[in-house]
Each structure stands twice: as structure tokens, then as C-alpha cells.
Amino acid sequence: MITITKGIARAETLEGCKRSMPAAKLISKITPPQLDLVLPTGVKMLVQKHDQLMVVYEIKPGAHRVKWQDVDVANAKRRTLAMPYVLLLIPFAYVDGKILPYPVFVECYYRNEPLMEADDKLFFPALLNTGYWSGLTLDSWICTTGIDILAKTNYIQDNTRRLWKTIALLRDYFSAATFNWEWKYNWQSYINWDKADPRITNLDTWEKETANDPSFVLGVEWMPAKRNLKETINSTLDKINSKLRPKITSDYLHSIIINQGNHENIQAKVPVLW
């Protein structure tokens, strides 16, 4: 059992070991921090759940100069391909005052209109190197193995600057990506879809249409995702939370006091939560 009196939380083990800590300190360990982040242009949403943060970044429609490997050719060919609005869903963890990106949980979606509401629909991108990944059960995972985001952002002390750098790395990576056949789920799903647009399924045509009018992609029908944006964010953050965040139980609170508490004679101070 835990007791809180006069602002002090106390716990005792079966062996009679007694520890205590200010209730405010105990609560600060289980409530989310208020993050004072200034956002780069293009960030459309910031959703915080406990110690996890999801940043939704929107890339405007336009032509991207990417490398695309043909299925039977070893070398990738540079192609200029128009894409609609691209949404990158980038999760971060808050650890010891720092926000740290989770590169393995980044997802990518298409939309033909700018994002306006949290429950807007999402569409799967007709791209190689994106797709469902059973390992993390992400619907439209994007392979980011080509950039070592953690190593390239870890040296940055300031959270806002780390956020900006992470987004810049992912945006640049995506805009000049090399798409290969190592992971083909979304592309294959699209080209085999009965509503697939022939202007996309043939890369030469896609490139030719791009040269004519890059905005043609905003009239293309894309495969609808199973979940809307809000559902997708909640699903991913819940997955991360279930892996990383201990459930707030009385046993967990007990363990915090026993492991991090002091002897009983400490004076209660009354700090402020936010």
C-alpha cells in the first residue's frame, strides 16, 4: 500500500523497508512533460501521449527526383516523378528531458488534399520501400535504413533543433530516395489494384505525365488506408507505449518510491507540475 499525507508519498516493502518521496516528484515521473517546441514549416500535427510524441509532417505536392530500380535491373535509374501531398508520421520518445526520434516507426501516406482535420482519410503511397510490416504491425512503414537518424541528431542538445534536424533528414531522404525491390508491398498492392491508374503503374508514363503537368497526381485515385490519421497515430503511439511505457499500477508506483525514494525524514517541498 502507498499512503500520501501532507504531500509525501510513502511505501513499505514486505521486509519492512520504508521509503518516501514528495508526491509531486512521484507524479512528475508518471505524467507527460509539457514540451515547448517551435515547429518547422510543414508540421501539421503534434500529438503527445504520455512520454511519446507523434509529429505529422506534410510535403507539398510536386515532382521529386528519385532513383527507382527496375525489377530486373541492378542499377537504379533517376526519375522525376510527381507525388501528391506526402505525410510522414514521425514518432519521438521523451527520455530524460530529451526528445529522441524512433526511425523504425516512421510511416508514409499520400493525400490529394492538404491535411485539415485529425480524422482525415489517408491513402497508401504507390511506392517501393513502403508498406505493411508485420514486425511492428505498421500499415505503411517506410524503410529509413539509409539514414542513421539517431547518430545524426544525438549530438544536438536543444529539443526544437533536434526535431528540425530529424524532419530535414527524413524530408531530404524521401525527396531523393532510392526505391528498390527489397520492400515492395505498397507498390505491388497498387499495381495489382483494379482501380490503379495506368499513368502511375507504368513508370515511363508517370514520368512523362509529370513533365506535362506535375499536378496530375492530385486527380489520381490512391488506395485508401484502413485507418484515418487520428486512428493511425493512436495505434502507433499505443504500440510504442505498450512496448516501452509501464502500465501505471499501484505496484509500479510502489516500485518508484522504493527504488527512488528517500528515508522518511525528508521535508515536503511543493513543486509545480508544469
Binding site: T31, T41, V47, Q48, E117, T160, S250, W274
Partner: protein, 278 residues
């Protein structure tokens, strides 16, 4: 006294009445989530007050030449009906608009008496960066004697709140509010209303300031220089507010009457449990 056992938190008052709730719910009640806003382009952040009663949206307008209506030299009126304007092409640096609001139900409620406008010569990338006073008419200077007043109030007399409520959902309403505020600032016409109603505008203050660049003291010169080099304003000195972005947000919440943060004392923790009883 509070006890926590079997994933349940129980509070007991001095009079003996008891209330309890699941621990997870208690933690959520201590820190309610903020709405999932989809941000309009160039909104740099939406921050909530410590007690979650108010929010502040901060919008940055890029530097460049703006086509604006500026009061004519020979206007028969200084403000209001009958005021005559000239169309001017004037360069402006980064403009920071701070727009506090509350949320009631599914509506955002703009706190227009605390909308403010500032300048910067660089984009805003951190909360600890300073804001500068704008050299613009209709951005009111109340004077140091009034610590309860905004530093640079933006006249939002023509902000049509009804247009905001035509939009469904807080994200779309936020988007509409930023558009309307931009219109109030840059398109409704600059006149001498602040000089008459609030004491002064920051533009008139710049005109009297010896440190101000001569180009902006004279609108003809300002327009001429803007044509030559639209970004010349990014090299001009602006008056310090002595407030960083973060400090200004805190000041605004304080002016609106938001609490500074819940003090996590025994009484507050017990109140959270008792309030959840019903």
C-alpha cells in the same frame, strides 16, 4: 489522506467521507490531453496554459513586400468611416502574430483583446528568442504604466467571429481564425485609430525614435526602398520588447487569468479524487 492499493486511489477527508478512482484515471485527470489540432501552414506552435484553460497559437508571416492600404496624407478622417487610404507596396520583416483562445465545447473562442503582433529579422526557431515591436500603425502601444495591457495589441475590430463558427471542428476554426487575423493586420487598412483610442501605435513610436531607420519613418521612402530591395527590412534595427517568445506566451496567459500551474499539494490531489467521484 490518500491511499493507493490494488490499482485504486482513495482519498479520505477529515470529516470521514471517501472517494476513489482507478490510478490510471487519476493520472489522466492530473494532466488532461490537449485537442488534436491540425495546424495551418506557418503556425509555429499551439501552447496551452498550465491550467489548460487557454491556448496560444503563434503564426509567422514570411518577410516580403506586402500590398497594403495606408492612410492618405490628406485623409479627411484619422480613422473609421471617411478615412481615405493609398495603396502601398511595403517590405515587412518576419511578422509574429500571437493569438490566444479558449475552447468551449467544440468551439474555439478567440481572446481578441490579447491578440498581438511583433517583428523579427530571423525566423522563429526557439522559445528563448526575442520579439521586437512592429513599426506598424494599428499595433497599439498602451505604455509602460499599464502592466495589465498587451505589449503590442493588434486591432481586431473587424475580426468576424461568426465566420470562424461556420467552420466545423477546432482545426478548421483555428485555420479560419489565422486567416481572419492576417486580414485584420494586412488588409483592413492602416490608420491612426491606436493613437486616438489606446494612446499610441508602435509606428508613431518608431517615428519618434532616434534609432529608427529613416526609410521607415517616411512611407514614400519606405516604398521606394522596398522596390529596390524587398529584404532591406531584415537589416533594420527594431525596438526590443525584452520578452522572448516563451515569456510573451506566459505573460499572455497571466493577463488572461490562467493559473500558473497546479501546486501538487495534498489538498489538490485529494480534490482531484473527490471531483471525479460523480
Amino acid at each position: 489522506m490518500i491511499t493507493i492499493t490494488d490499482n485504486k486511489i482513495t482519498a479520505q477527508s477529515k470529516e470521514g467521507s471517501k472517494a476513489s478512482m482507478p490510478v490510471e484515471k487519476f493520472v489522466s485527470a492530473l494532466c488532461p490531453p490537449t485537442p488534436d489540432f491540425v495546424l495551418p501552414d506557418k503556425v509555429k506552435f499551439v501552447k496551452s496554459s498550465p491550467d489548460r484553460r487557454f491556448y496560444i497559437a503563434v503564426w509567422e508571416i514570411d518577410p516580403g513586400v506586402h500590398s497594403i492600404r495606408w492612410i492618405s496624407e490628406d485623409s479627411p478622417q484619422q480613422y473609421g468611416p471617411g478615412t481615405e487610404y493609398d495603396k502601398r507596396e511595403l517590405a515587412l520583416p518576419y511578422i509574429i502574430l500571437t493569438m490566444p483562445f479558449a475552447i468551449q465545447g467544440d468551439r474555439i473562442v478567440p481572446q481578441t483583446s490579447n491578440f498581438e503582433c511583433f517583428y523579427r529579422n530571423e525566423p522563429l526557431i526557439a522559445m528563448d528568442q526575442e520579439l521586437y515591436y512592429p513599426a506598424l500603425l494599428n499595433c497599439s502601444k498602451f505604455g509602460d504604466a499599464n502592466p495589465r495591457a498587451p505589449l503590442s495589441w493588434l486591432c481586431t475590430q473587424y475580426l468576424n467571429a461568426a465566420a470562424i463558427y461556420k467552420e466545423k471542428g477546432v482545426s478548421r476554426q483555428l485555420w479560419r481564425m489565422t486567416k481572419l487575423t492576417r486580414w485584420c493586420l494586412l488588409e483592413s487598412g492602416f490608420n491612426y485609430s491606436s493613437e486616438h483610442h489606446e494612446g499610441n501605435s508602435h509606428y508613431s513610436d518608431y517615428v519618434d525614435w532616434s534609432g529608427a531607420d529613416a526609410c521607415i519613418k517616411d512611407v514614400d521612402k519606405w516604398q521606394k526602398e522596398s522596390k529596390k530591395n524587398p529584404l532591406f527590412v531584415l537589416d533594420l534595427p527594431w525596438k526590443h520588447t525584452q520578452h522572448t517568445m516563451g515569456q510573451l506566451a506566459e505573460r499572455t496567459f497571466k493577463l488572461l487569468g490562467a493559473a500558473n500551474g497546479h501546486t501538487l499539494d495534498q489538498a489538490y490531489l485529494e480534490r482531484v479524487v473527490f471531483n471525479a467521484k460523480g
